[in-house]
């Protein structure tokens, strides 16, 4: 049986892993290589590396940091931030990434999803989206609007419609970030995740809001998400205490949720 994945998403700023609240007010946690090595040794299922300022600063992703990071871990590794072209994707894949995450650039140029999936296969293209609760309207019937550029710019696009369009264009996986829940440690936006899971047939990854094991279990029990991002729980200094990957997995196993057996990487 396919197990549910526990993913760490590293928001990287100038070679440092950071953590934000609602996409703002980032605090430094530690250098990328230290965090990534520890996560691998502790048994993480997957790592997403996100160069958070590449897109808004209109620059390319830092390939050297990606390359060094990919040499330290032997679990799947997704990279995103500032990827504008298929050539950019190829650079990142050559540096050791398995999957490419695109977000704001895909909104600006939806063809990028199709071009990427044609060149590398749809399994390689992860469409990440930032959704914010709004009053439902004719243009945003679901009541969730897509934002871009670090949740700073609204697009007038409906999140559910964008998810469906992304799948059609060739995305192999979706990361659903709730702007409202990001870093709040009060649980994922279950309603949003459930709507997205029911609208598409590609794997959906929950992001934004996990502060304790119950939140992770809730996402897997109440929705059909394939994976959950738990960054804050693992290393945010804003929590009273952090959780180990083993602790999260043991909690999920007790709740009857299938997860990969805990295996340390070292």
């Amino acid at each position: 049986m396919l197990t549910k994945r526990i993913i760490a998403c590293l928001d990287v700023l100038k070679g440092q892993v950071t953590k934000a609240i609602q996409f703002q007010d980032n605090i430094n946690i530690a250098p990328v290589s230290d965090v990534i090595k520890k996560l691998y040794n502790d048994g993480i299922d997957e790592v997403i590396f996100f160069d958070i300022s590449a897109s808004s600063e209109r620059r390319k992703i830092d390939i050297d940091v990606v390359k060094k990071a990919s040499e330290l871990i032997f679990v799947p590794f997704t990279v995103g931030g500032g990827i504008k072209t298929v050539e950019d994707m190829y650079e990142v894949l050559k540096a050791g990434a398995e999957k490419i995450s695109i977000d704001s650039m895909a909104v600006r140029n939806p063809n990028l999803i199709t071009e990427g999936s044609k060149a590398f296969g749809s399994q390689c293209i992860v469409l990440s989206m930032q959704a914010k609760k709004v009053n439902p309207s004719s243009s945003i019937p679901s009541g969730y609007e897509i934002y871009i550029d670090g949740a700073r710019v609204s697009t007038g696009m409906d999140a559910i419609e964008w998810a469906i369009k992304g799948e059609k264009l060739g995305a192999g996986e979706l990361v659903i970030n709730s702007i409202d829940c990001d870093g709040m440690l009060s649980g994922y936006d279950i309603n949003l995740l459930d709507k997205i899971c029911k609208a598409v047939n590609i794997p959906v990854i929950a992001s934004g809001g996990a502060g304790k094991c119950e939140h992770v279990a809730e996402a897997f029990i109440k929705t059909d998400v394939s994976a959950a991002i738990v960054s804050s729980m693992l290393y945010s200094t804003r929590l009273e205490r952090n959780f180990s990957i083993e602790e999260i997995k043991n909690y999920l196993i007790n709740e009857g949720i299938p997860v990969r057996a805990h295996i340390r990487g070292d």
């Binding site: 049986m1 396919l2 197990t3 549910k4 994945r5 691998y40 048994g43 299922d45 990919s70 040499e71 032997f74 679990v75 799947p76 590794f77 190829y90 894949l93 050559k94 540096a95 050791g96 398995e98 999957k99 060149a119 590398f120 296969g121 749809s122 399994q123 390689c124 192999g172 996986e173 047939n201 590609i202 794997p203 394939s226 994976a227 990969r260 057996a261 295996i263 340390r264 990487g265 070292d266």
Partner: protein, 205 residues
């Protein structure tokens, strides 16, 4: 020297990083002359069957590779797409593949499961094999695939996995071995399996 075939749309670098971590002497190869010097050959893969076949043709490697593997019995490991193109035909784009082993590559049914399959799934070992030395039965490995192979010859099955249906996740015939999962991205057991391949002699003339 273990060679990892380097072609566009492959993830050869990830495999090299994994081999370095287990102290295997290895290099990326993309020429006929380099291919001929290798003790073991790995064909990694992400992307589509078509892109992979096109890329191998463009590099002019198919004839030499086929001769080294089928005639000289150089140990060969295909990973993911590197498994799928060993068979006769892939439904992904309707592509004629290498045809070293009999079988056809088909798509998971979108009505049963989310496609692609992405994540860690258990491999049930159906045969004992040197690749499994030190690897527990039902260990989870990392999969990313929309297609899987339907074997014509069940003797080639080494292990299987369930995703909507039971499909072959690791196969082997003489010196030819292949995994549908990404051993290079499957943590310490994935590295163990790679290490078993690189140390093994398998089929000897």
């Amino acid at each position: 020297m273990v060679g990892v075939i380097n072609y566009k749309a492959g993830n050869a670098q990830s495999v090299i990083s994994a081999l370095k971590a287990i102290n295997v002497s290895c290099k990326l190869v993309d020429t006929i002359d380099e291919l001929k010097t290798l003790s073991h050959i790995i064909l990694p893969g992400v992307g589509s069957a078509q892109a992979t076949m096109d890329s191998l043709k463009e590099l002019g490697l198919i004839e030499t590779l086929t001769s080294l593997v089928l005639k000289d019995h150089v140990p060969f490991l295909g990973i993911c797409i590197g498994l799928q193109i060993l068979f006769d035909f892939s439904d992904e784009g309707g592509v004629k593949c290498l045809g070293w082993l009999p079988g056809r590559v088909v798509r998971f049914n979108d009505k049963d499961v989310r496609v692609p399959q992405i994540g860690w799934n258990a491999v049930k070992q159906t045969k004992s094999h040197p690749l499994f030395e030190g690897v527990n039965n039902n260990t989870e490995f990392y999969f990313v695939n929309s297609y899987y192979v339907v074997l014509e010859n069940q003797d080639n099955l080494l292990g299987e996995t369930e995703y909507g249906k039971i499909f072959p996740s690791i196969i082997g015939h003489e010196n030819i071995m292949a995994t549908q999962f990404h051993a290079e991205k499957s943590g310490s057991f994935g590295l163990k399996l790679l290490s078993n391949f690189c140390k093994g002699e398998f089929y000897v003339n």
